[in-house]
């Protein structure tokens, strides 16, 4: 029973990790939270669904949807975020990404109606028995995919020239500009990857949650909790945070009285506790302000 709960928690946690990864990428790029991240992922899931309906196999639909969302995410960064990010004010950015969140959700509802849709599982149906714990193929696939994505992104950031530029642009924008790195381009790049990762997360989770316009809002808040827990500027932290949040959420749902209701308060509790006790998260860097 407990092992089963843990396994389920890790599977949902992997999705939170993926979305938290997208949040972290955006945060590293523009020092802001994208409240529309969940709706980008939702849009990715709908694009995948539409392509499948048009006759594409789901594994072929996924890359197309990821590419499309990467372009869309990068475009919204260029058009909406960058002009405001230059002013270093939190409120306009929050308002704009919030507006983007509502608008995208409404457009999705408009285009695809509010009825639930079924997305085929990328890794097929059925379950595998792992030491007495039944785990669906899709769950195993999700966990492995997210791990691979995280490792690839980690390698990209740590060991490539491009990753070095990216890190330089984040940690010392002025010096980076002076040594010929276009910080604007790295910001757009960060948003593009975030969009693609989000579309991946959306498409992976859609078969389990059933695709409807309200699907991503709860996932987003858990992903925010995961990113906060792991540290908003740490990709590895996002991975760990996501898994931890997924497990805690599942355990709270099963073992607490009124579990399914308290479950939804878990994200709030995690966010508040982390921000008060260790605002930089497990693996994040502490923000030091020179007065």
């Amino acid at each position: 029973m407990l092992l089963q709960q843990l396994a389920d928690g890790i599977a949902t946690g992997a999705i939170y990790s993926a979305l938290a990864l997208a949040i972290v990428l955006v945060f590293r790029a523009s020092r802001t939270l994208n409240f529309a991240q969940g709706e980008f992922a939702l849009l990715g899931a709908y694009v995948s669904w539409q392509l499948v309906v048009w006759g594409l196999p789901v594994w072929a639909a996924l890359p197309v949807s990821m590419a499309l969302l990467a372009v869309l995410s990068a475009a919204s960064e260029r058009a909406l975020i960058r002009p405001l990010a230059r002013r270093h004010q939190a409120l306009p950015l929050i308002i704009v990404t919030l507006g983007l969140m509502i608008a995208i959700n409404a457009v999705i509802g408009w285009a695809w109606t509010y009825q639930t849709k079924e997305v085929p599982a990328l890794f097929g149906g059925g379950a595998v028995d792992l030491g007495g714990v039944a785990v669906s193929r899709q769950d195993i696939g999700i966990v492995l995919t997210v791990l691979v994505v995280a490792v690839v992104l980690g390698v990209l950031f740590e060991f490539t020239r491009w990753g070095l530029r990216m890190r330089a642009a984040v940690s010392a924008p002025e010096s980076a500009e002076l040594s010929g790195i276009s910080t604007g381009r790295t910001m757009t790049m960060g948003w593009a990857i975030a969009g693609a990762v989000g579309a991946l997360a959306g498409t992976l989770i859609a078969p389990e949650l059933f695709l409807h316009p309200g699907m991503m809002a709860p996932v987003l808040i858990y992903a925010f909790a995961a990113a906060t827990l792991g540290g908003l500027d740490s990709p590895v932290g996002a991975l760990i945070g996501g898994l931890a949040v997924g497990v805690v959420e599942n355990l709270a749902g099963s073992y607490l009285p009124h579990g399914s209701d308290f479950k939804q308060v878990v994200a709030l509790v995690i966010i508040v506790v982390v921000l008060l006790v260790r605002p930089q998260g497990i693996l994040g860097r502490r923000e030091v302000v020179r007065v």
């Binding site: 802001t32 939270l33 409240f35 909406l80 002009p83 405001l84 002013r87 270093h88 004010q89 939190a90 409120l91 306009p92 929050i94 308002i95 704009v96 919030l98 507006g99 983007l100 969140m101 509502i102 608008a103 995208i104 959700n105 409404a106 457009v107 509802g109 408009w110 509010y114 809002a217 709860p218 808040i221 925010f224 909790a225 906060t228 009124h258 209701d261 308290f262 479950k263 939804q264 308060v265 994200a267 709030l268 966010i271 508040v272 921000l275 008060l276 605002p279 302000v289 007065v291």
Partner: protein, 351 residues
């Protein structure tokens, strides 16, 4: 340190004749109408508002009452976000606490207008307690916490079932005491009118007085404010508490108006419409709450005839457009349009 101020200082060098966008974005002083016009305006407005419920059918009273309820929320939220620079996406939670204070208080046998006092006091306390940790959070973090709060509100209501009756909700008897010869809708209308008027006057005085200036000082330059003797700690917690109390009273009136509360009344959409309200009306302006309240009451009725998705699309587009082009909201637009006209009216005090 990133400042979370909502307006730029006016001193920045700008071309005097910029593009239309520059013209829209320019900060402007409040209108200064001559005294006779102010007095006449208040007299006519007060008379009209007092007569409305006596001559209209109840569904019109209902919508006008809702406008006054949203105004009250807007006044409080604008105090926090506009003047204080503290982001809150979670005011639906305080609104819900106020509504449930009235509902549960009524069930416990407390007579109804008196429950509104609880609807103010309880959110005030909760806001004060929440303001303590919020002191340590800035901008984005506070946005995150309050967003999570808004999303957890319906679930929290369901989880507190012994008190709230979970999803079944609570029915409320919103009728006036027997000695008052008013129908239900008229009674709640006058209560809301009284609350909104008091809220408006208090906010106006707060905004222009010492406290309002200390809010703005903390928003624009916290360290400078502290050096000049503003108690940042007290300012922020009071701000949060006061703002929550406004939302609480509004929630209480809302419960009395609808005579029913249930968890689904207080979802994220409500919080987002509150944020839209103050952004549309105009951040850090007092009359903005009224214009924003009119927007969130009447625009959804217009858009929902097009498509159920149109309201969301309109809110989203409006939020983005206002953040870019109209940082001072509709009030900024009104000031731009009427500023010169008002300045030419006879009878102004010396400028």
């Amino acid at each position: 340190m990133t400042a979370t101020s909502t307006r730029r200082r006016t001193g920045s060098p700008r071309p005097s004749r910029g593009s239309a966008v520059e013209w829209l974005r320019r900060p402007r002083p409040p209108l200064a109408p001559p005294r006779w016009l102010t007095i006449a305006g208040i007299a006519v407005g007060a008379a009209a508002l007092a007569v409305v419920p006596l001559v209209n059918p109840s569904y019109i009273n209902l919508t006008v009452t809702l406008v006054m309820i949203w105004t009250l929320v807007g006044l409080g939220l604008n105090l926090l976000v506009g003047f204080g620079g503290q982001v809150s996406l979670g005011h639906s939670a305080f609104f819900a606490i106020g509504a449930y204070a009235v509902a549960v208080g009524g069930e416990a046998g407390i007579p109804h207008p008196a429950t509104l006092a609880i609807a103010a006091a309880l959110p005030f306390l909760v806001g004060y307690v929440l303001g303590l940790p919020a002191l340590r959070l800035h901008g984005l973090q506070l946005g995150l916490v309050t967003l999570a709060m808004a999303m957890a509100t319906p679930a929290a209501i369901r989880a507190l079932e012994p008190l709230t009756h979970g999803s079944r909700g609570i029915a409320i008897d919103g009728d006036p005491p027997a000695w008052i010869p008013l129908a239900h809708d008229q009674w709640v209308y006058y209560l809301a009118l009284a609350a909104a008027t008091i809220g408006y006057v208090v906010t106006r005085r707060l905004a222009r007085g010492r406290l309002g200036r200390s809010f703005v000082a903390v928003r624009d330059a916290e360290i400078v404010a502290e050096t000049l003797g503003v108690d940042v700690w007290r300012t922020k917690t009071r701000l949060f508490a006061a703002s929550a109390a406004y939302a609480g009273v509004a929630g209480g009136l809302y419960a009395m108006l609808l005579e029913f509360v249930g968890p689904e009344n207080f979802n994220l959409t409500l919080s987002i419409s509150f944020v839209t309200l103050i952004v549309v009306g105009g951040l850090a302006t007092v009359p903005g709450a009224v214009l924003g309240a009119l927007f969130v009451q009447y625009v959804p009725t217009l858009t929902s005839s097009i498509s159920p998705a149109a309201t969301g699309a309109a809110y989203g587009a409006v939020l983005i457009a206002f953040a870019f082009f109209l940082p001072y909201g509709l009030v900024g637009l009104v000031r731009a349009a009427l500023g010169r006209l008002v300045a030419r009216l006879p009878g102004r005090r010396g400028t």
